[in-house]
């Protein structure tokens, strides 16, 4: 009943599926569960998705309200310099869990870690 073409087709689909499953599991979409949301004056101005390439990178945030320098670590983020008077945001250190925030009130800056898909309870409904 099965021709030779059928068998080749079946085997190649199986191989393709398994290879792409392995690829998806190992290489794609890692470290993308959380991202850093940088908000100034209530508006999100920047989203940074955690990435191994970004570890140790610093990112200056200059707005009309002031200046902050943030440093991105391995799944964590902190403020290392700021021009606000009390420097509470610098003293707070790293945040790493989804939902944690660093707030710099004088500069109206909020740095929040968000999980992708935090905003909705249901991913999607197809009915």
């Amino acid at each position: 009943m099965l021709t030779k073409g059928d068998k080749i087709l079946i085997v190649s689909i199986v191989i393709f599926s398994i290879l792409s499953l392995i690829y998806i599991k190992n290489f794609a979409f890692t470290n993308e569960e959380n991202y850093i949301s940088i908000q100034v004056d209530g508006e999100e101005i920047k989203k940074v998705i955690f990435d191994k390439k970004l570890i140790g990178k610093t990112m200056p945030i200059e707005t009309e309200f002031g200046y902050n320098l943030i440093e991105i670590g391995d799944q964590k983020v902190r403020v290392i310099d700021a021009d606000c008077p009390d420097k509470l945001d610098v003293k707070q250190g790293y945040i790493s869990k989804s939902g944690e925030v660093i707030v710099c009130l004088p500069n109206k800056l909020v740095i929040e870690i968000k999980g992708i898909g935090d905003d909705v309870d249901i991913d999607y409904m197809s009915r």
Binding site: M1, T3, K4, L9, I10, I13, L21, I24, R127
Partner: protein, 174 residues
């Protein structure tokens, strides 16, 4: 006369496909991922492709999707099943017409199932605006191998008998 007969046969096939689809929703697939279906109505579409032709089978695919939406009342599934039906029809037609020496009906039906799943994932990624849903495709491809195999097997047995039967009817009356 012949045309009326054809219309009646096609509408019968649509209703058979609809019935198969509805029965299929009552059969849970215990071992695989959500969204995977047996694709029993694909038997009807494949047989129509073999016995009648491409235009008739794509008509049946579209009509079956619309009537299935009317029967179940889930509108968003219309987009999924329509895209899947049209894509799988086109894929099966191309393979059946050009490569029927290489692939038996099982291979044709596997191509149809793969195209069906691809179309559904495409619609899902467009509707969710999220390309990462494609990571679900390999799992669906693996299940489509099984369902496509059995759909093709059933189609071989059915079309073997039906083709003679239909040919006889249409030739006799002509």
């Amino acid at each position: 006369m012949n045309n009326v007969k054809k219309i009646i046969f096609l509408s019968l096939l649509v209703s058979i496909g609809l019935a198969l689809s509805i029965i299929e929703t009552m059969i849970p697939l215990p071992f695989v991922a959500p969204g995977a279906k047996l694709g029993l109505s694909n038997i009807v579409i494949l047989i129509t492709l073999v016995v009648f032709g491409f235009r008739e089978s794509i008509t049946i695919g579209i009509l079956k999707s619309i009537t299935f939406t009317l029967a179940t009342g889930s509108v968003s599934s219309l987009f999924y099943s329509l895209t899947g039906a049209i894509l799988s029809c086109i894929a099966m037609y191309i393979v059946y017409r050009n490569l029927s020496k290489v692939f038996s009906l099982i291979g044709v039906s596997i191509f149809g199932a793969v195209a069906h799943n691809f179309g559904q994932i495409l619609v899902a990624s467009l509707m969710m605006k999220n390309i990462r849903i494609f990571s679900y495709l390999p799992i669906l491809l693996l299940t489509s191998l099984f369902t496509g195999y059995f759909v093709g097997l059933a189609s071989i047995y059915i079309s073997k008998n039906l083709k003679n039967y239909f040919d006889n009817i249409f030739l006799y009356k002509n």
